[in-house]
Amino acid sequence: MPRLPRSEWYDLTRDMNWDLTYVTEDEAFPPQLSNSFGVPAESWWTWDEPYKITYSEYVHNQAGKDAGLFSVNNVVSRSKIFDNLDPGWKAAIIAHYGAIAVAEYQAGIGEARMARFGRAAAWRNMAMFGTLDETRHGQLQTYFPYQALNKEPRLDWAHKAYHTNEWGIIAARHLFDDMFTANDAVSMAIQLTYTFETGFTNLQFLGMAADAMKVGDIDFGALISSIQTDEARHAQQGEPTIKVLMKEGKVDIAQNLLDRMFWRAWKLFSLLTGLSMDYYTPLEHRTHSFKEFMTEFITKQFIDQFRDFGLEKPWYWDQLLNEMEWLHHAYHLGVYYWRPTAWWSPVAGAGPAEREWLEEKYPGWNASFGKYWDVMGENIRAGHPELTLPETFPMVCNACQIPVCTPAGYAAGYLDSPLPRILDFEGRRYTFCSEPCQWVFEQSPDQFKGHLSIIDRFLGGVIQPPTIEGALAYMGLSPEEMGQDGTNYAWAFEGHPAPAAERKVG
């Protein structure tokens, strides 16, 4: 280690910016891979990260993080822990691994793009650490589930999910391709490292870590909170990128990039984290409601940060607050009803005690969403669980790729109309779940117009045979992998004592 204080040599060793003479700037930094938004090269060289770290410090820290994590992992033995986990918590972690593990490797592709096409040496250096970070996250989150594969074959979806056309994965892939796999380095610094990692990943990786510790799944809690320490560092690529854009008068560009990705991240995380926190985590171990975590991490912590850079709340802020009241309740109903299309077994989370909690956290829940669960409970108790299963498919949004839930939002009193939004564009009809989703599409229609949602594929003859069975096979779901009621309908009998013989359902 050098004897000089780091601050006296760091900037000098970090900065290796080149005056290009043999090639043009566009050849070295093609706009498709690195959009300068008209900012000149020398201005990008003022890029200065707030969180400085040398390579030797990086390696030292990362080795220590893994040593700590694996000492926990060795002690608790994933495979034994798994037997004792609550079915709801199992649903949450199986959903997590499928949705996240391979996406981490893809985030590594994004970081590697910034490590080459970031427009300042300092930035490329941070992104190089980010590339190594994301590789670590991909490896850890495929290895940890692998350890319990003998208990739960669906943990294989940690690796398999992104190689399928399961509907939730189509949605996640659509989002992550937009955010990093197919994004340019400059937009990515705002959309991946800033909007997503400074903002939304906290919900799933810290919020769920809090719940994991209460549940007693120390292994998972240690894993995801350790991952988040990497994110907290490499997310710092956002701030200096925003600063350069702001200094060059590009505030509208920075705001637009933020607004587009903020909404998209909200949609996917209300699906993943919303269900996990408010329905899958066992009631006695819940720390906060999803809405409370959203308030803590997003509508306070994150908004304070981006406003400090001179950015403002996205234009659809009121719609975000509106959806925070109801959207994930509608998603949960949908995922439960269409459970054969999920690679985890959702629990209803709608027994009497859970319903009381939901009513307390979301006043009006019983009168709006509770009534659907009343009907499903009655059908199950009457010996007709098949009535709680789907015969058709819902409409899907052509932006977020998640089923359109406007009828549920309308019925619950949160929307003025149950209808989706329709856009006719270049001879094709597109459907959207919300005004911001349509706006996202219209910001960049050439990018999105050719994509077929799962329902477009179903109606367009891509999925054969065009039946529920055909669609499930298309999604990569064998009968053994399809989601079932995670508690084998026990929730429907809570508070409804019934003779044991009558409880043979499913």
Partner: protein, 108 residues
Amino acid sequence: MTTETGSGTDSGRVKMVGPVVRGLDSNLAEAVITAIEMDNPDADVEVDDQGGYIRIGLPNRCRMTRASLEDALGRSFHLHQLEPSLAGFAGRMKLDDDEVVWYLERQD
């Protein structure tokens, strides 16, 4: 004070800044709290222990020096070694050899 979800304007809400420490590192978390209390004698330090993470915050500006942290830990410590325990933070962060500051500048 506006509503919890921050609807409408946020002006008037006290903006809290400071580190979010991993719950598994409780020794370090304790030392960080002690050091922050030492380095910000005029502020009330809020500690919210969520098990999986511990949020430490005070209004607008939160400073922690290497010297105070070393005092609290009773051993030498480089500030970059915080990273394995630093799962996040509120506000913006400035880190150099001798101190780390979490801060927000905007007044409204």
